[in-house]
């Protein structure tokens, strides 16, 4: 007998309000694109409804309005998902403007939790622990469970939730019978199609089910479109395409929690010298390397946490431009970092955390048949890290092209880890350009004998006019190549607005 899926939907009708800190006591609405998407209890009592204009809500008496904080809501949903991961790994997020939530597939976990009632009670307890107000629905498909959750009321205790939800036998037929009386107006995202269905005499899902049982889904598909038909197939659990659906079932989405590495070592006695930390650093980095290899991950940053016996702590971040799975480079970079960082206190505990990881990207390498020396890209990272430790992060960089006509804006300084843009526009490929550019052009004196900058200048080529940024701060310059009295060639220009001459580059 094939397993019947069991989906549990969790709708969070007050998520927008609950992520607000502190909670609003006055009648308040949350808006998106000038429409009310959520109103707290006080505002609802005044007659404010979803979908109303902000002005209408204010006229009805809403005292405050806030923009929806979708980032905070996504973060809250993420936290809730991580809590519920202990119950089932098959969790998918349901994005919804008014009531976002989660959908959990439970049929694969029933044995572990000794039945549906225990499992649902566990889920409800975990949700209650987070403090989020939630409504639940259970069905054989995710869409049906989501719809049934909308019609349910908020229970008080996890046991009440579980008891209600398991009253229905665990079968598709039983769940479909629950949908019979659900009005079609509860469908989200198909307003025109629902209006058309109403006009055609379909008002509940029971009407739809009768039609589907009589004529199949194709009649509805022909009349109301494929999108609605697919939704109804998902809702009812109809597989309209294959004779052997069990072979081609779509796998339930599995939630992958963010994993991070966090280990620490305690010394036998507090250490005062940096050298005494190195063996412990090696050990922790070996554990990190094992963790990264086992999870097929790599990282750019690690954080060392030093703590003393009074729990005073300090974090030191080590960054690598290239993502690392091996730990040799991270060890070298850590040593460089610590060489220039004296210990502020006696260190009793050394911790290593790696919070941000990414999937390990296997880099293909060319086979070396020529025997030529191949440079190790890691070696420049070590050298650069040593230089940055002495001179600062901004002291080591590369130059890159930028698409701009103004010379000083056409070159940009980038970190070593970025790739430089080297594509010259066709029009610029044959222009005469100096190898050195002064970031700030140097003013030239206009003397009686002519232009003077550390020597008299003679213009020998030009002008090349650069005129741009008329929409902002207009720039108009005539560029020339000038020969100084000692035969040095300079790139000079006359600012046509300020009528001033400048040196901008040297042809070295």
């Amino acid at each position: 007998m094939s397993r019947v899926p069991l989906w549990l939907a969790l709708r969070l009708p007050q998520l927008a309000e609950q992520v607000q800190s502190p909670l609003e006591t006055q009648p308040t609405v949350w808006v998106h694109k000038h429409r009310v998407t959520h109103a707290n209890t006080g505002a609802r009592q005044l007659g404010v409804k979803r979908g109303q204009n902000v002005a209408t809500a204010t006229a009805l008496g809403a005292r405050q309005s806030h923009a929806r904080d979708f980032a905070a809501e996504a973060c809250a949903l993420g936290q809730l998902t991580e809590h519920l991961y202990h119950c089932t790994p098959y969790i998918q997020r349901r994005e919804h403007l008014f009531e976002p939530g989660l959908q959990l597939e439970l049929s694969r976990c029933l044995k572990l939790f000794s039945g549906a009632e225990n499992l649902i009670r566990t889920v409800a307890m975990r949700v209650q622990a987070t403090g989020f107000i939630c409504v639940y629905g259970v069905a054989h498909t995710a869409e049906a469970a989501w719809l049934l959750a909308k019609t349910s009321s908020q229970e008080c205790t996890p046991s009440e939730v579980a008891a209600r939800l398991v009253k229905t036998p665990h079968s598709s037929q039983a769940f479909l019978e629950q949908l019979q009386t659900v009005p079609l107006a509860d469908i989200d995202g198909f307003p025109e199609e629902v209006a058309g269905l109403n006009k055609s005499g379909f008002f509940t899902f029971g009407d739809i089910a009768t039609q589907v049982a009589r004529d199949g889904i194709s009649s509805l598909k022909k009349r109301f479109g494929a999108t609605l038909a697919h939704y109804l197939c998902d809702l009812f659990g109809i597989d309209n395409q294959l004779h052997q659906p069990s072979l081609f079932q779509t796998a339930a989405p599995m939630f992958q929690p963010e994993s991070h590495f966090d280990e620490q070592l305690q010394f036998d006695y507090p250490v005062t010298l940096v050298d005494q930390l190195y063996p412990a650093m090696r050990l922790l980095l070996e554990q990190l390397g094992t963790y990264l290899r086992q999870h097929q991950l790599q990282c750019h940053d690690i954080i060392w946490r030093l703590a003393d016996i009074h729990n005073k702590s300090e974090d030191i971040t080590v960054h690598s431009d290239r993502a690392q799975q091996g730990t040799e480079l991270l060890y070298e970079l850590s040593r460089i970092r610590f060489e220039h960082h004296p210990l502020g206190f006696e260190v009793d505990t050394l911790g290593l955390r790696c919070l941000r990881t990414e999937a390990f990207a296997n880099r293909s390498q060319r086979l070396n048949f020529t025997g030529a020396v191949e440079h190790n890209p890691q070696a420049i990272s070590i050298t650069a890290a040593k230089l940055k430790a002495h001179l600062g992060d901004k002291a080591v960089f590369k130059v890159s092209l930028r698409d701009d006509h103004v010379p000083e804006q056409s070159v940009t300084c980038i970190p070593l880890g970025e790739r430089a843009c080297q594509k010259l526009a066709p029009a610029q490929q044959h222009l005469l350009r100096p190898k050195w550019l002064f970031s700030t052009p140097k003013p030239i004196q206009l003397r009686a004998q002519g232009l003077y900058w550390q020597g008299y200048l003679t213009l020998v080529n030009g002008p090349e006019r650069i005129q741009t940024q008329w929409w902002d701060a207009p720039i108009a310059r005539d560029y020339f190549i000038a020969l100084r009295s000692d035969a040095l060639r300079l790139w000079v220009y006359q600012d046509l607005h300020a009528q001033q001459w400048y040196v901008q580059g040297v042809f070295g």
Binding site: I380, K398, W436, T458, R489, L496, Q499
Partner: protein, 242 residues
């Protein structure tokens, strides 16, 4: 007992660092190609000496002849080219036009002499940097500082230190000391010191100027060919209401 040849003397004579008067016959021709046949012919290694300090003196206070002199060698480099304490920002457009890979050109800015020396030693030692071009910081480098720089080089990198003209008066442990002067159509390179060869007079090599159209350079007086910009160049402003 078999009579053995005097191996110690032969071995000593084959060493490259043994001065043999006027005979540079044991100098290995393993120099980095300069790109100029005349300059190759004037140098003991038939190119820039690998792993040794090359000192180039030029006009103080301004970037001058670096690219003209070294661009052919930079194009050959497969590793990184590092500009240490450069006098200005390298212009990316010009470097791309010259055929250099911007991903392999690094710039390191230093504020003072200790930072400069640490950085130079670090860069000269590493095997990933094929070329290190360094400009002396504001504080003059002493003989001891130069000795540190000279000893830091590895076997295959080209390390060039640019200093002002007045440094020629100072002793230096550099294996090769040059001075560069711009001429109207050429770059004059004078060799002041070269390890493995006697320099009786200041050997002069004239290198052709590359990278600019030849018609710009005429041997006659430039005053007649100089361009005079218009007194007021017309600029049309889009926001001019008149």
């Amino acid at each position: 007992m078999n009579k053995q040849p005097p191996p110690l003397l032969e071995t000593v004579l084959r060493r490259q660092d043994v001065w043999r008067g006027f005979v540079p016959s044991f100098a290995a021709e393993d120099g980095v190609e300069t790109g100029y046949p005349l300059l190759n012919a004037a140098l003991v290694h038939s190119g820039w000496p690998p792993g040794a300090l090359v000192e180039v003196c030029q006009d103080a206070g301004a970037a001058s002849a670096e690219w003209q002199l070294l661009l052919p060698a930079l194009r050959q480099a497969r590793g990184f080219v590092v500009l240490l304490n450069p006098p200005a920002l390298p212009f990316a457009s010009a470097l791309v036009q010259a055929g250099l890979d911007l991903d392999r050109v690094l710039v390191v800015q230093t504020d003072d002499k200790p930072g400069f020396l640490k950085s130079y030693v670090e860069l000269a030692r590493t095997s990933v940097c094929d070329v290190v071009l360094a400009w002396q910081p504001a504080q003059t480098l002493s003989y001891t500082d130069l000795r540190k720089c000279a000893l830091a080089g590895n076997d295959h990198s080209l390390c060039v230190l640019f200093r002002p003209f007045n440094a020629l008066r100072q002793s230096s442990p550099a294996a090769l000391r040059l001075a560069c002067f711009w001429r109207r159509t050429q770059l004059e390179v004078r060799i002041y010191k070269q390890k493995g060869a006697l320099v009786k007079e200041r050997e002069r090599v004239l290198l052709p100027v590359a990278g600019l159209p030849a018609e710009l350079w005429r041997p006659d007086d430039f005053a007649e060919t100089s361009i005079q910009p218009a007194a007021t160049a017309q600029v049309v402003s889009l926001f001019d209401k008149t």
